[in-house]
Symmetry: C2
Subunit: 217 residues, 2 copies
């Protein structure tokens, strides 16, 4: 949380009132997300973003220093929302039995609902300056880490078989990516599977991984 706030603060502004900065940047991000999803980052112009934010082009540049700043704010906001969604989901899931399956289900639903946003991050992370890209990838790692945490806890309580750290990490990354896969292969998958069927099959697969490892140790 601290590092995220830190990162946002790093983006320069000419405006003194920090509350106002937050409000206007929220307007900017909301407008930009929609434009980027529809047209992509490069085809969206700063003028379009200004207009959709309800600001003049001059005012827009009081709140950011470059177009890339906007892209970073957008990516960071999306990750914050995904992270919140996952954290909430974990909380709900960890109360019931069969926890890992519940966690996967809740997470995949977050991906399903944030389809376009997750896709946007896949497509435009490359357009960020190196410094920002690094921060965005750190967000990605942190979110994956939430899954690592769950698996570790379940191993502790004996609800999952013992696995070494590398295995646990890879399972966590697989969960992340198979959730994303629903978004970036949706053009195919949604024609052949319902989201529920997709979740069922992939869950079986991921649990199979844990079992496969267990029988090998």
């Amino acid at each position: 949380m601290i590092s995220k706030t830190q990162a946002k603060t790093d983006i320069p502004t000419q405006i003194k009132n920090s509350e106002l900065v937050e409000i206007r940047r929220r307007q900017i991000v909301d407008a930009a997300v929609e434009l980027f999803i529809e047209q992509g980052f490069h085809k969206s112009t700063t003028r379009q973003i200004a207009r959709a934010s309800g600001l003049s082009i001059g005012s827009l540049y009081e709140y950011i220093a470059s177009k890339e700043d906007i892209l970073f704010l957008v990516c960071d906001a999306i990750h914050a929302e995904v992270e919140k969604g996952v954290a909430d989901a974990l909380e709900r899931a960890e109360k019931g039995p069969n926890t890992l399956a519940e966690v996967i289900k809740e997470y995949f639903w977050v991906c399903h609902q944030m389809n376009d946003h997750i896709l946007l991050i896949y497509q435009e992370t490359q357009s960020l300056p190196k410094k920002f890209r690094k921060l965005v990838l750190e967000n990605e790692v942190r979110i994956t880490g939430l899954f690592t945490g769950v698996i570790a806890r379940l191993m502790g309580t004996g609800d999952l078989p013992g696995m070494d750290e590398k295995t646990v990490d890879l399972i966590a990354h697989n969960i992340s990516v198979l959730g994303h896969m629903w978004t970036f292969r949706r053009w195919f998958l949604a024609n052949h599977y319902s989201i529920d069927m997709y979740i069922d099959l992939q869950t079986r697969y991921i649990l199979g991984m844990c079992r496969a490892t267990a029988t090998m140790v």
Copy 2:
């Protein structure tokens, strides 16, 4: 094969000598791939592409009609190379025992070697006009279909347990995507796993999926 050639022919050119068209377009694609990998599609200019191809900007436009045409030629050439790599790999793998594991290994190595190219397709497919995007996604489906074919054959010979069509399809897509995952999460994975270790672990999981399904049917 026919449909691929068809697609290329669809791109208009002012040049009559079709052999020359092929030569020049190969120059253009080779130059553009490098530029796109380094700078992305939007930041690469048609002048840069012309210069790197050894053509004038005027000549470049004799061989294509728009910058997007170049991106399509690039994506299509990459897919052709991936498909050839996978087809070759299948041929080698299907001779030995433990075929599915061999296929996965060979395919993941193709991904490893074509890292930047696969990444490029993930990032820039969105920049294609709809008509071209459709063709590129069809390439992706066709490549995934190669895996479906192997699994089906192995089920036929009893080397894999019986699975319904939807399960087989999803396993094929998982193989595709977990290979790509090595490219688009390489910034993390390569710091924690060697390519060999990655292949070993993921292979175990994919085989586990077949087993998990089998014990359920």
